[in-house]
């Protein structure tokens, strides 16, 4: 009844090809953005329920936004281009550590050449974006094997990137500015004189990054390049026959994906953690991102958000609910139960809907169109 597109006529191609061709979708998105940009900060500033404490903002929304961004990056590679990657954590780490190095100044002594490369500390915004670019570079490098290997073999090959970079940031003190503990502190988040400190400011910063990159990605996957990726994913030989260069398509997918994941990594380190060690970007993070993409729906931007929310929030809820309801269970039992229920939920979802939440949403939309008078 509410979700009916009858009467919405497209009179130009531009209208027909819009990202949200249905008016109701546009309204829903506008409302959502309104809530995200105005509602949430308002509520949080005045501490109105459920923002009575910083918990929702700090511990849920902030990591949700950043991980959703990383999931979008992973989705480009896994969902749009069909290249399974277990190395997303490593690319987050590259983004984070490159950004850190750039923000604190790079000094490479080249003693044997008689001079040194010195770059003064860059502004935070530039560092984060350049961190993403460094991740893109590494992504291209570790994407080269994809030209010869595919499927799960490729997944294990990307694990090489994961473990190699874990080690690099752990063992090479240059990356941590010789911090004795190997743990590094993010620089002050100074954006052209505007210093981001409070949770609300951090939230808005991440939201801005997420929205801009999401819009760019959404348009990219609708472009020529995005169609090339999907062609490679669906059938690589046919794609090659119609003139798509696998080398170009695969490596661009690796580059774009790693860039977004790298930016997310820099945000995770700078904005969320503030102080981190390589363990923050371990194999567990990679698996988590892959889960978000698969549970959310391969090849769906919307799905990445839903998947990120699911993987991040469900364990926390499973952990919170017994305590809050006063069920007399020990922390240990609750955590074990959380594992069991979470694992079962994942299996259940994979069995019931292997194409993820994105598919559920589109089915829901179809039903809604006919509601309340299905044929």
């Amino acid at each position: 009844m509410l979700y009916r597109e009858a009467g919405q006529f497209k009179t130009t191609y531009v209208e027909d090809m819009a990202i949200f061709p249905i008016r109701q979708d546009r309204i829903a998105l506008a409302v959502l953005l309104g809530i995200a940009f105005i509602g949430v900060p308002m509520f949080a500033t005045f501490h109105i329920w459920p923002f009575g404490s910083d918990y929702l903002l700090w511990a849920i929304l902030l990591p949700f936004l950043i991980l959703a961004l990383a999931a979008i990056g992973t989705n480009i590679l896994v969902g749009y281009c069909g290249q399974i990657s277990l190395g997303s954590g490593a690319f987050m780490a590259i983004g984070a550590y490159s950004a850190y190095k750039l923000a604190t100044g790079v000094h490479i002594p080249l003693g044997f050449l008689g001079f040194a490369i010195s770059i003064p500390p860059l502004p935070v915004l530039a560092s984060i974006l350049l961190g993403g670019l460094m991740a893109a570079g590494a992504g291209i490098l570790f994407g080269i094997p994809s030209l010869r290997i595919k499927g799960l073999y490729l997944a294990v090959a990307t694990l090489a990137a994961q473990f190699f970079f874990d080690w690099v940031f752990l063992r090479i003190p240059w990356f941590t500015n010789y911090a004795p503990s190997g743990s590094v502190n993010a620089p002050a988040l100074d954006f052209f004189g505007l210093v981001v400190r409070t949770p609300v400011e951090r939230y808005l910063l991440c939201l801005l990054f997420v929205v801009v990159l999401t819009v760019l990605t959404k348009n990219l996957v609708r472009s020529n390049l995005g169609r090339q990726w999907m062609a490679i994913r669906d059938m690589d030989i046919a794609a090659e026959l119609i003139g798509i260069r696998p080398l170009y398509a695969k490596l661009t997918a690796f580059a774009v994906s790693s860039f977004i994941v790298g930016v997310a990594g820099a945000l995770w380190a700078f904005v969320y953690l503030g102080s981190w060690e390589p363990l923050a970007f371990s194999i567990d993070r990679s698996l988590e991102l892959l889960f978000m993409v698969i549970i959310g729906g391969l090849g769906s931007i919307m799905g990445s958000f839903v998947g990120a929310a699911f993987i991040l929030i469900v364990p926390i809820m499973l952990n919170l609910v017994p305590t809050e309801l006063g069920v007399p269970l020990s922390t240990q039992t609750i955590t074990h139960l959380e594992f069991i229920i979470f694992g079962s939920l994942i299996c259940y979802l994979l069995i019931k809907e292997p194409r993820g939440f994105a598919r559920l949403i589109s089915i829901g939309k179809e039903k809604l169109r006919l509601w309340p008078f299905p044929y």
Partner: protein, 442 residues
């Protein structure tokens, strides 16, 4: 399909109702104390006994004394699985609970400590890192909210070298010796390295750090290298499975166990029992206390376990990590008590408890009164010294139990302090913190 939609709807409702309950619903005269623990994952073996000790002591205070001078303790535990991001989530979840928020936080992980250091300062919640955490946070002028009670890793490194020197027959005998550090490759394991480098320079021994990658199940190549290199001593800075694996691998390459000295986190029962007889002779530092029963344990048995409120099997009460949990909880409780003297007998904020922590002063008489005689030496915290005391002993595993084999050592403060000053000054400069003037603090 309808099926899954329905179950999702149920899940969503469950989540919403969960969210509704997050709103605090607590009694008025209660002091909230959070416990960050890890009872699952690779480090559960060591994390669980510690958390049991902490929980039992808080319980004891409520059951025996009815709280701290009438203010009951409201305790909630959160599982971190030793992961930094989960630790941050737990902290955010618990910091605002109770009428006045968390009194303090014990992260029980060096990684989480690093991640929380800045946050706790903004939130004005003190962070107690007893025997771990960042060594430079001894300097309370730069780190007003960090309290590395009883000893940092730099103190530990110095005590270990003192013991080695004593076994060799004097500091001059250290010259030319080879000492290796087998460490957990994380902020925790890396902390002692700068101090050991300073010590190596001072005493002229050859120092080799050998990293072991998390979680430390695979150490064959490290030990084959040790077998070839034959260091005079191996210091072990491990946690969880890494400790017992180190002992076993040492036995396999026939490296004498009595030439191994673990830090105080590498010297508890779960670290040696998996190795069985092979662990006999292995030594470790003691964070003052050891294993065993003390007067306080009698109270725990009487007021907590007799009422069926204990958090572990009674047989495990008195293990080393359990005792460490009890000591940690006691210092926190005493700090709240101290703060109550100044701010009144009511639930206190983190900022008020911070004052209590900084002015904590436990003498022998008070320690005896609390039932900790023989576990602890007097401790006195001040603005410039958040460590309080830096004494330690060495214990040895005889195959069945830990035996204390040395006198007390006191870490060499004049040696450590310049390093503390240097590293904390760098932190202050990075973070643009203006150090407090400790002369003006009362």
């Amino acid at each position: 399909m309808a099926n899954i939609a329905r179950s999702l709807a149920t899940l969503a409702t469950a989540m919403l109702s969960g969210a509704a309950f997050i709103a605090p619903a607590s009694a008025q005269n209660e002091q909230f104390v959070p416990i960050l623990s890890y009872r699952t994952g690779p480090y559960a073996v060591n994390g669980a006994p510690y958390a049991n000790g902490v929980a039992d002591y808080y319980n004891l205070i409520n059951e025996r004394d009815g709280g701290i001078t009438g203010v009951k303790l409201l305790v909630e535990e959160c599982e971190t699985a030793y992961a930094t991001d989960k630790g941050v989530e737990c902290y955010e979840r618990l910091k605002g609970k109770g009428p006045t928020g968390a009194a303090f936080i014990n992260p029980l992980s060096t990684g989480i400590t690093f991640a929380l250091t800045e946050k706790t300062e903004t939130d004005k919640i003190p962070i107690i890192t007893m025997g771990y955490g960042r060594a430079d946070s001894k300097n309370g002028a730069v780190f007003p909210y960090n309290f590395p009670f009883l000893g940092t890793y730099w103190s530990a490194a110095d005590i270990a070298i003192q013991h080695v020197a004593k076994e060799l027959g004097g500091f001059d005998k250290l010259k030319g010796r080879k000492i290796s550090l087998l460490y957990h490759d994380s902020p925790y394991g890396k902390e002692p390295i700068p101090m050991l480098q300073v010590l190596a320079k001072k005493y002229g021994f050859e120092f080799t750090p050998i990293p072991v990658t998390h979680p430390g199940v695979e150490q064959k190549s490290q030990w084959l290298a040790i077998r070839q290199n034959r260091p005079d001593y191996v210091l072990v800075w491990g946690w969880g499975v890494m400790n017992s694996t180190a002992v076993k691998e040492a036995a396999a390459v026939a490296y004498p166990r009595d030439k191994m000295i673990g830090v105080w986190w590498s010297g508890a029962e779960p670290d040696v029992t998996p190795a069985g007889d092979q662990a006999a002779g292995y030594k470790s530092l003691m964070l003052q206390h050891g294993a065993g029963q003390f007067p306080v344990h009698a109270d725990v048995a009487k007021y907590v376990y007799a009422k069926g409120k204990g958090s572990t099997e009674p047989g495990k009460v008195g293990e080393i990590l359990y005792n460490r949990g009890i000591v940690n909880a006691m210092l926190g409780v005493e700090a709240i008590r101290k703060a109550q003297e100044k701010f009144g007998q009511k639930p206190l904020t983190g900022e008020q408890v911070r004052w209590g922590l900084e002015n904590l002063n436990l003498n022998d008489a008070r320690i005896k009164e609390l039932g900790f005689e023989g576990m602890l030496k007097p401790i006195r915290i001040s603005c410039s010294d958040h460590e309080g005391t830096r004494d330690g002993r060495v214990q040895q595993w005889d195959g069945k139990s830990w035996k204390v084999i040395s006198d007390w050592y006191t870490a060499d403060e004049p040696l450590i302090d310049p390093l503390v000053a240097e590293v904390s000054a760098k932190y202050a400069a990075d973070k643009k913190i203006k150090p407090r003037d400790c002369a003006k603090e009362s």
